[in-house]
């Protein structure tokens, strides 16, 4: 199966206020977006285990107009504390590039807008 780096034109991460981080997966075109937007490998559970957060706290959105899957998760500790490694969370996307898609469409979305 392809990796996210093969099917996305851009993958990015950023702080969304001091208590949240948000990740945007821009799929290269609508066809690959339709094929993979609900993939288990980019479901809430997969993000929870990659970033070490409670799966119930993850918010996941599919933005059909932009062929984007957006995932937001609470920071393990607020921005800028003793253990800060990435103040703006702008480098947290890198490990996602190597995530291999599963072909299993059970990564259900919180919100779907068409």
């Amino acid at each position: 199966m392809p990796k996210l780096r093969d099917v996305c034109s851009q993958v990015r991460s950023k702080n969304a206020g001091p208590f949240w981080i948000t990740v945007d997966l821009f799929f290269a075109d609508e066809a690959v977006y339709r094929r993979y937007r609900d993939d288990r490998a980019i479901g809430a559970g997969a993000f929870a285990s990659l970033y070490g957060v409670d799966p119930a706290s993850i918010r996941r959105f599919t933005v059909d107009r932009l062929s984007v899957v957006k995932v937001s998760y609470p920071r393990p500790s607020p921005q800028g504390g003793v253990v800060e490694r990435d103040m703006h969370s702008g480098q947290q996307f890198a490990d996602l590039l190597e995530v291999e898609l599963s072909g299993d469409r059970t990564g259900a979305a919180d919100v779907v807008v068409t």
Partner: protein, 466 residues
């Protein structure tokens, strides 16, 4: 070229942050297009808690003064209001006053005497405690209910204003409004709302334009112009060489935003689920279908506290044997350093923390590197000691210096010397600051927690060279 149409509010957003570089040409072009106001933001929590805890601006005085000079000159010439939100990065009182003082200096140098309104939204601990005790403070995810201890820990607490205080100041005759902490969107939505534009388009336009040119094809090429009507807004770059596209505009709802469809603001919720983005021409985008649902008025609270102190050391490692076993090395070194602290200070150093971060390996993520990853050519090993005082953090670093510098991968190895780039090796980094509040406070009306001031602006006669 279109001039403003009836019922339409035209706002120049010259940049995403005061002090980042306003271009006079952008303002001229916007004013020529019939702008009713210039609005921009000067702050954010984006760069971390230290700016709010200390009340210090992220941008230098020189950069802010230079931007204010360009803006105030354009304001005086065009006689349209200038609105600046979240002055001095954090928007706490001392940061607002710092900005006001610069603005007064600029007015004197330009020989102008604009009417300046100042909006303060810093809150005392006692006001926040009273609101909390009355059950009118609510925690946002993922935070816990607010306690008096958390309130007492904060050096500064600000409440994010909506557009109403700006509208009030403009109705009272302000030429320039310098605001404390405000939502990014509110300062841009104020004039459109005051002029009767639709709430959905006004708030949505504010969100899209909050970072200036970030919503254009080339974010380095100047700010934007926003026209807001009853049921639409149009957005275009101020620079003739730049473009807005449906993609660049709609994608901005994703940026630094946990929810791409719904945005909670002081008096309601912006919902862009049904928004349509259409090109007007090659550089202008028209947006329709955004709505604003009114809700009980709340202001978000931000608060930052003083934390412990840190002292750091850095070594470079190029030894291939160490680099080939970096995780093992970090594990052994960490244990040795904690033993050393214990042997030197007993429990006198508690609570302390030592963090080792291998740059070039996994310092940024902090996660395990997948097996089979080839070793790096070099790595930078950052040592971070955190303790209650700067003296103690430095003492811990000094106690660890020799181990950090000479630690062998295996006991039997000859003692290596890693590459210190500095002497002395330890660097006192100062305090850690911490964001504490992630709550909203309910208010009876939008001006309840806002204070107004109208500083005296020296008359033109006193201007330099006048």
């Amino acid at each position: 070229m279109k001039d403003s149409r009836p019922g339409e509010a035209v706002v120049i957003v010259p940049t995403g942050a005061l002090g980042s570089g306003v271009r006079a040409g952008d303002l001229r072009r916007g004013i020529a297009r019939g702008a009713h106001a210039i609005a921009l933001d000067a702050g954010s929590t984006d760069s971390g808690p230290s700016y709010l805890a200390r009340g210090v601006s992220k941008y230098t005085r020189e950069a802010v003064k230079r931007d204010l000079t360009v803006l105030m000159e354009a304001q005086a010439k065009a006689q349209i209001p200038l609105l600046v939100g979240s002055c001095g990065t954090s928007g706490c009182d001392v940061a607002v006053d710092w900005t006001v003082e610069i603005a007064l200096e600029v007015a004197a140098e330009l020989g102008i005497a604009p009417r300046i309104a100042v909006l303060y939204s810093e809150q005392s601990r006692s006001v926040v405690k009273k609101k909390n005790a009355a059950g009118r403070v609510r925690a946002l995810e993922p935070s816990a209910p607010l306690t008096d201890a958390a309130i007492d820990a904060c050096e500064h607490i600000v409440a994010l204003m909506g557009p109403e205080p700006y509208v009030h100041a403009l109705r009272e005759g302000a030429d320039i409004v310098l605001g404390g902490r405000t939502t990014d969107t509110a300062v841009l939505a104020a004039v459109p709302l005051m002029r009767g534009a639709g709430a959905g388009p006004a708030w949505h336009a504010g969100k899209v334009a909050e970072c200036g040119g970030q919503c254009t094809a080339d974010p380095t090429d100047g700010g934007v112009l926003v026209r807001t009507g009853a049921d639409y807004f149009e957005i275009e770059p101020l620079s003739a060489s730049n473009r807005c596209t449906p993609h660049s505009v709609s994608a901005h709802m994703l940026y630094e935003n946990a929810d791409p469809f719904r945005l909670v603001e002081p008096g309601g919720i912006l919902d862009v689920t049904g928004a349509r983005y259409e090109p007007v021409d090659e550089r202008v985008v028209r947006v329709t279908g955004s709505s604003f649902e009114a809700a009980p008025y709340t202001m978000k609270l931000e608060g930052a506290a003083n934390g412990p102190f840190q002292t750091i050391m850095l070594v470079g490692i190029a030894d291939p044997e160490v680099l080939a076993a970096l995780d093992l090395f970090v594990e052994r070194l960490s244990a040795a350093l904690h033993d050393r602290v214990r042997a030197t200070f007993g429990d006198e150093a508690d609570p302390y923390d030592i963090s080792l971060r291998a740059y070039g390996w996994n310092a940024v993520s902090g996660r395990r590197v997948p097996g089979g990853t080839p070793p790096p050519r070099e790595a930078g090993m950052l040592f971070v000691a955190t303790a209650a005082t700067q003296e103690l953090a430095t003492a811990i670093a000094k106690a660890c210096n020799a181990h950090f510098f000479h630690f062998p991968l295996n006991r039997s190895d000859e003692l290596p010397s890693y590459a210190f780039p500095f002497s002395p090796a330890e660097i006192e980094r100062g305090r850690v600051y911490e964001f504490v509040l992630n709550h909203v406070v309910e208010v009876d009306q939008p001006l309840e927690l806002v204070r107004f001031a109208w500083p005296a602006v020296p008359a033109k006669a006193f201007a330099r060279g006048a």
